[in-house]
């Protein structure tokens, strides 16, 4: 765990220094100490690099935590944060905001706000369908989520068909990127992300026991229905806030929990915090690579995570088969 913290610090340090303009160590120390506060470099550090790196960091934390939660709640290693249609709601919200750009009184934040609202509406819909009180079931919620997700994606495709000029913009939004993100985005996502993460850590002890199956967990004193519901709300809030500000970055929520399990074992009380760190490291690193490797062009970070994540996942599967 200590090694992961150090690694994260190192990656974050590189990520704020390197980019279209590299900051030398001496310059960096000057800027941190508050010298040359009105230079271009200062603006780059404080207004561009730092919010961007921080956003990649919290997005990595959020996606990894949501992935751990979904895989634990569903007891399915293939579950990921985009499973239950929350992200489809976000995409539809973002799409609507792009079509009516300028007509919404939300200014620059129109897309993330609309995406967030879309995500929450999708969650509400899935929630309503999946049953109240004792009739709630995770399986029904999952099915409802997949159906709602497909339906919302279909609506989005229909809108795109009529507004083909928005196609490219929306496509790049959905690939996921931290390009041009500011403190405003961080401010928008942070509160909901914080509440969601709080819920996840609050219920973490129960999530760990839930891995034995709902019946055995109940036998060990876990109020399974309530625990599953809080966890789903927490994971969905986290996912919604991440998707709202940086689109749908794939594979982090799927791969990181597996990778962490290899490092720390199956106890989720260790897996969740370690996954958060690892998710942050990977996403800050991936964003650094996305904006420097092809400079001055910038690859959407979601392309890079899928490009690296999918083969790595295949490697994990092959490894599993061998053992």
């Amino acid at each position: 765990m200590g090694a992961l913290v150090l690694l994260l610090a190192a990656v974050a340090f590189m990520a704020v220094r390197w980019g279209a303009v590299d900051l030398s160590t001496a310059k960096f120390i000057d800027l941190i100490m508050g010298r040359a506060a009105d230079s271009t470099e200062a603006a780059i550090l404080w207004e561009i690099r730092l919010p961007r790196v921080l956003l990649a960091l919290v997005a990595g934390i959020g996606l990894a935590a949501a992935g751990v939660t979904w895989q634990g709640v569903l007891r399915n290693p293939l579950a990921d944060p985009y499973l239950i249609g929350v992200s489809a709601g976000g995409a539809l919200g973002a799409g609507l905001a792009l079509f009516w750009k300028g007509e919404l009184p939300l200014g620059a934040q129109a897309v993330p706000i609309a995406a967030f609202v879309g995500s929450l509406l999708a969650l509400g819909l899935v929630w309503g369908i999946s049953g109240r009180g004792a009739s709630f079931s995770v399986e029904r919620m999952l099915l409802a989520g997949v159906a709602v997700g497909s339906f919302l994606s279909a609506i989005l495709s229909m809108l795109l068909f009529w507004n083909q000029e928005s196609l490219t913009t929306l496509y790049f939004w959905m690939l996921g990127s931290f390009s041009g993100r500011t403190w405003e985005d961080l401010r928008l996502a942070a509160p909901y992300l914080g509440v969601g993460m709080g819920l996840l850590f609050w219920q973490l002890r129960h999530l760990n026991v839930l891995q034995l199956g709902a019946d055995r967990a109940r036998g060990l004193g876990v109020d399974t229905l309530s625990v599953q519901r809080w966890l789903i709300v927490g994971a969905s809030l986290v996912t919604a806030s991440v998707v709202a500000v940086c689109g749908m970055i794939g594979f982090v929520g799927l791969v990181v929990p597996h990778l962490t399990r290899l490092l720390v074992g199956p106890d989720l009380r260790k897996v969740l915090p370690a996954s958060c760190l690892l998710g942050a490291i990977l996403l800050v690193g991936a964003d650094l690579a996305a904006r420097t490797l092809w400079a001055p062009a910038e690859m959407p970070v979601g392309v890079l995570t899928a490009l690296l994540g999918a083969p790595f996942f295949l490697y994990l599967i092959a490894r599993e088969r061998r053992s």
Binding site: F201, L204, R205, N208, V209, Q211, L212, G213, D215, R216, R218, G219, L220, G221, V222, D223, T224, G265, P266, D267, R269
Partner: protein, 263 residues
């Protein structure tokens, strides 16, 4: 004092398999739940443990309707070992046994208080799994896994222990050890133990009381000697058998002759 109490209890998933069950089990009793396949043994156990709602009547744990008690409260009083628990993943043996302390822990459950440690160590010793502490569950044999699950149940420090065919994965030696352990838990530590069993002779040797289920109800309830008669075995299992005294132990021994359906 009764720990388990059933009155006019009907159990089943949708249709009742057992009706009008009257049952009281107190501390220091080791009850063997006997009966043919499909007689309702497992269903009764699930209902008494609160995993299944009664269709009619009441099933009380320590004076409270068990299906309405909070899970945490039930788990501090009662431990239930199902017949086919889903797999235990790759948890380490010690971590799995420690989950038995879950109903007593708060917060993240990362800090170990001395009570938890003592309960876990004791549970692992009496089930002979202490030497497996660091092993992964998915690398153990079926019998070893069964003993670890029992250790988890014992770590709960329950006053009521319900077990569904606890001996089914064990070799003869561990069967006898486990039956002896259950009897000691009942008689020395005052736990109320109810176990679904198939081996009538083990039930006769170790249980303080047996409950024979047949024809949707209780056919016999009492000491093994009173219940395990040729007549009741014929009714319950459709099997003719001799029942004699064990030459050394002074308990009844069931010697099956043949199946009535086959003759």
């Amino acid at each position: 004092m009764s720990l388990l109490h059933a009155r006019g209890l009907s159990v089943g998933h949708q249709q009742s398999v057992l009706r009008g069950i009257e049952l009281t089990v107190g501390p220091r009793e080791f009850v063997g739940l006997l009966g043919a396949n499909g007689a309702g043994k497992s269903t009764l156990l699930m209902t008494l443990s609160g995993h299944l709602k009664p269709l009619e009547g009441e099933a009380k744990l320590d004076g409270h309707e068990v299906s309405r008690l909070p899970a945490r409260k039930v788990a501090r009083t009662l431990a239930y070992l199902p017949q086919h628990p889903p797999n235990d993943g790759d948890f380490a043996v010690r971590d799995l046994v420690e989950m038995g302390r879950h109903p007593y822990q708060r917060g993240l459950g990362l800090q170990r208080n001395p009570e938890d440690v003592a309960a876990v160590t004791h549970a692992m010793e009496v089930t002979s799994v202490a030497h497996l502490a660091g092993h992964r569950m998915d690398r153990l044999s079926g019998g070893q896994r069964q003993r670890v699950r029992l250790a988890q149940a014992i770590a709960q420090q329950p006053r009521v222990l319900l077990l569904d065919e606890p001996t089914s994965w064990l070799d003869l030696r561990y069967q006898l050890e486990l039956m002896g352990l259950l009897r000691r838990l009942a008689i020395e530590e005052g736990v109320a133990v109810v176990a679904v069993l198939h081996d009538l002779n083990q039930a006769a040797q170790f249980c303080t009381r047996v409950l024979l289920l047949a024809e949707g109800g209780v056919l016999g309830d009492g000491t093994p000697r009173d219940v395990l008669t040729p007549e009741s075995l014929e009714k319950a299992y459709g099997v003719r058998a001799l029942v004699q005294d064990h030459p050394r132990l002074g308990v009844p021994v069931v010697m099956p002759l043949d199946s009535l359906a086959g003759s």
